[in-house]
Symmetry: C2
Subunit: 334 residues, 2 copies
């Protein structure tokens, strides 16, 4: 029986309609064959197809911008925002403009063309997360930037290349969707003097209905008002607004829960296309009391974005409890 | 040269990147062949495949729920929200729920299986708009509903059937995306004592750069911070928050601008898949000073919704000025 659920953070209502589950299964993305361009610009030996390394984890006695690396970060070849130049702001009549200034870095997650995130062992996942963290904290030093995201798209048409890669984008403004989270978290905090994420974690840990995986430091859940089927969040148990503050000691447990969650997703949903993003506090350290960094992941299972675009009302045919149960048990979806 | 533009209403920044235009053209949706299920549930003679008529415009001496109609509105076969029952609200721990109560009506726009909106003559478009208006004002009488949208998806995968149809959905809450517009409009009004839409219209009429079409009562524009390539809005010149107040006299000019805009879209973008939605004030008449009803249309040309979902930052490779020029002149996009 369908119901409306209110997202406690984004203050939006989501239509959860489990009786439509059969639709989803019918129309579920048959993972379109990922067709590689050749040569793959992310494979070892093709380093010259990308700009020079900004950060790289590589074996001893290997050369810069040459094979031997394990994780490689370069400027993006075709950046959404450009690092060069001053940030310029101006008005035109009623309207406001800025130069498209920012940072856009490309992370090659692995030298192995065919490795999926679920194939990474925990030490490699840790290496990748450490690279993210280093760049994230470095970008913070550029005072032009107010916010940075780390994001990843897997599978066409969201991603052009099958070789696993991700993006770090620093922006001179707070993105709307993330600012909405800040506003929701602040309203909640103003009312209750508690973090909305900490409260949700407590609630989920008590009920256990929507928990997908957990370890000493992290929990993966299917959020109560999931706007997308099998939407998955990974949150630290400890209240922390800023991903940049996780520190070296936080990485093994985060790597562990990523490995576990990614394996479950691949098994349950037959290697779905997905998008993944880090939501962290503003780079200047504001919002530290009320915000709580986390990763959000949505598998791309449904093409129904008409209503979502038109109204911001999300329609989700898989109740998060059912999604969590499937993922937790690693049962392939049928 | 790319730049950041601030949406004066949604207060979000959009990356406008005309140098990426070639990408869009390459990857532009070849309109996937619309494959019809047979029999088409919307064709005359198949009325029994849908529920009974709520509102219909039909010829004299024709029977209810039988051929002879020109526009036909029924409850949706598989409603997103259900009209039956009381609206129930409750909490579960931290979380808030409502019953999935609302109205979801299906509008069959034409009896002609192959007619596109651009093929409708003005009298038929007027008929269709009159049907929308009647249902819209009727749904307002149901005090359970706070907001209603009229929306349409054209082309797979957004729409299941090629026969032109649309939806009217009434909801017991204000959808987030629309509430964001109300909030943006109110902030603007509080600051300037003027409507943000009226100001934008004045600006656009002066500059003429982003005007697509205009008549005595309506203007079609490519908004300054368009989040999507060829995003198109149709607005009344006269300040009015509530579409329901347009009245019989407003319909011919609205039908006219729809006809003109749809023809231009079809010509310029080779019959693109699109979504269209009415944004109007809340059903109870609030927001009358600061809001201004309008239709928003986006052609589905790009699949890049990763960043949009992840951050609410839109990336648009066609500057609205260029989009408006193409559409205004009806030049096919190459």
């Amino acid at each position: 029986m369908s119901e409306l659920r209110r997202d406690p953070l984004l203050r939006r209502w989501v239509i959860i309609a489990p009786e439509r589950r059969a639709d989803l299964i019918d129309r579920r993305l048959k993972p379109a064959p990922i067709t590689g361009d050749s040569p793959c610009p992310f494979c070892p030996g093709n380093e010259h197809l990308n700009p020079s390394e900004i950060l790289v984890i590589r074996g001893e006695r290997t050369n810069q911008n040459a094979p031997g690396w394990l994780v490689r970060i370069t400027p993006d070849q075709r950046p959404l925002l450009r690092i060069e130049g001053t940030l310029e702001r101006r008005g035109v009549g009623q309207f406001d403009l800025m130069s498209a200034t920012g940072a856009h870095e490309l992370v090659i997650d692995t030298p192995n063309h065919d490795a999926h995130w679920a194939d990474f062992d925990v030490p490699h996942m840790e290496r990748l997360l450490r690279s993210y963290l280093t760049r994230y904290n470095d970008l913070r030093n550029d005072r032009r930037f107010r916010h940075a995201v780390i994001m990843k798209n897997h599978g066409a048409p969201w991603s052009r290349y099958p070789h696993q890669h991700s993006h770090i984008v620093a922006m001179p403004f707070i993105p709307r969707r993330i600012d909405d989270e800040f506003i929701g978290a602040k309203e909640y905090f103003d009312l209750k003097e508690r973090c909305v994420f900490c409260d949700a974690l407590r609630e989920e840990e008590t009920r256990q209905e929507r928990v997908i995986a957990a370890n000493a430091d992290f929990v993966a859940i299917a959020p109560f008002a999931s706007g997308f089927p099998f939407e998955t969040w990974i949150l630290p148990r400890r209240h922390m607004a800023d991903f940049g503050a996780i520190g070296e000691r936080g990485l093994p447990a985060l790597a562990g829960i990523f490995q576990e969650t990614m394996s479950k997703l691949r098994t349950t949903l037959n290697d779905p296309h997905f998008s993944l993003v880090l939501h962290s506090g503003p780079l200047n350290g504001e919002r530290s009391a009320e915000f709580h960094w986390h990763w959000e992941l949505i598998p791309h299972l449904s093409g129904e974005l008409g209503l979502e675009w038109a109204t911001g009302v999300y329609f989700n045919p898989i109740a998060p409890e059912d999604a969590a149960a499937c993922l937790r048990e690693g049962v392939p979806l049928t």
